[in-house]
Symmetry: C2
């Protein structure tokens, strides 16, 4: 079912001088396709345009809209990835700025994942990274994803992990390799949700979670997240556009010797507030998976 | 004259699921082609294989060798870029490790650059970067080059700059966007050459310069380079495989207001020892350009 379109042309190849390939000079988004439509179409497109603007990419919005809609219709249910790369024929790093861009739509089936990951939560490993890339670009989903690729080496079949969280050189907890982290903190002023201030994408799922929490009356703060914050948290979850929300059941310190891994948290998942956010988010896959999980137990 | 070959097939397209494009999951090298051959062929191939191994990429060495030789022959004189990207059909960041790779050869004409850049030196701007990417990967030439792309925005036609040097968040001077930096330092123990320890590629030009200096009896140390080191230096140059060596004539602090730029160094270029290294390097383009420059003055 994997298919793609390049500037609207089905199954076209990418030229070897594509700057996304040569230098990672572009941006992308991955979204859920459900019932022939991109979930949160308008927000996905808006965030993509914001990221493109940060790289000085000029987007043909009507072409983009048409191609997103067409790809989603062809896909039915699955994953849509939209990639924009700088169109420029001159060699070398130097970017033409602003510049038009190549539009690449790719659709693929949904990854097969058990319903209990939504219903009972997932295990995440905590991995020390020397850097997740240039901080000023981190809010934007650019094509430089090698840190995430390398982090996911920890997700071996026998690791028992579904995601890996990355810490920065100062020991602060950043985002997951493919998701944002949300933790329910307990402090003197009462409970509040926190999410890492740096190193996280300002993407669709982060905005959707923030909106859902606002409707529920939960407070959410962006702040630096320490190991102490993580260990003191009462519940937590991971979020991205595709999965919606995965409740966190356990976070493990991941090191060179997996046998010496230690659990940093061990929660009854989903927590009460996490369950409320999952319902409020109104994400079709979350709804579907929770129903499937409820049926199977 | 731009041409390319994908796994030996002339002018083939890259599929839209290429992981170099999707995630920057690959490595590359750029080399000088002269008289139908890759300059320092064996060393270029060796460094490429080292970088590929750091990403768990398995290379068909005989195919690579044949395709490098063929592309160079077709090119005659110009630039060869060799790109290797992880071959894997599954979606998502998670890398298959080890994995075979796609081989992409691209040839292009030499960029047109005036001989006096070699003969009288170049101007470089110093630019503060928040990060040049994950440090543990920095010795390897991977496909995540967005920091370099963004740095080269400073090289506008009216900037008068030929290269931009990047500093890290701690104010240390790292590499140039497309070259390594070498400075002749003067201290109590006598003159010595230094080059930044972190953030530099362990590439062909760095090794070639080190060898040339060794033959000349110059000492070269890898160390953190501060702004004080830079301002106290007596001479300096930039090096990469393509240009060989550009003597540095001036380094300027580059900021938001170009008109307030201040010169940090102002050297008679090339310096005496730089000139010696240029001759010892035995790089065909350097030799050619110095001859052309000598003829024209």
């Amino acid at each position: 079912m994997n298919r793609h379109w390049v500037d609207g042309v089905a199954d076209a190849g990418i030229p070897a001088d594509d700057r996304g390939l040569l230098y990672g000079d572009g941006v992308f988004r991955t979204g859920l396709v459900w019932d022939g439509q991109v979930h949160q179409f308008a927000l996905q497109r808006q965030v993509l345009l914001t990221d493109a603007a940060a790289l000085g990419l000029e987007v043909d919005v009507s072409g983009l809209t048409r191609e997103m809609e067409h790809a989603a219709k062809q896909c039915g249910r699955g994953v849509l990835r939209i990639t924009l790369s700088r169109l420029q024929t001159e060699r070398g790093y130097g970017p033409r700025w602003p510049a038009p861009c190549r539009r690449i739509m790719s659709v693929a089936p949904l990854p097969a994942r058990p319903a209990h990951w939504w219903g009972r939560g997932v295990h995440a490993g905590l991995l020390s990274m020397d850097s997740a890339g240039p901080a000023s670009l981190s809010p934007h989903k650019h094509l430089n994803r090698l840190p995430q690729v390398l982090a996911q080496r920890a997700l071996t079949p026998d690791s028992g992990l579904q995601e890996v969280l990355m810490t920065d050189p100062d020991g602060r907890v950043r985002c997951g390799s493919m998701s944002n982290l949300f933790l329910k903190k307990v402090d003197a002023s009462g409970p509040a949700w926190i999410t890492p201030a740096d190193g996280s994408l300002m993407g669709v799922s982060r905005r959707s979670v923030a909106s859902a929490m606002q409707r529920l009356g939960f407070s959410l703060e962006e702040q630096a997240v320490s190991m102490d914050d993580l260990q003191a948290a009462e519940e937590g979850f991971l979020a991205n556009s595709l999965i919606g929300i995965w409740p966190l059941q356990r976070i493990t310190q991941t090191g060179a010797q997996p046998e010496s891994d230690t659990a940093l948290t061990d929660w009854e998942a989903p927590g009460v507030q996490t369950r409320a956010v999952m319902a409020e988010l109104d994400h079709p896959l979350v709804t579907d998976m929770l129903a499937a999980y409820g049926d199977s137990t």
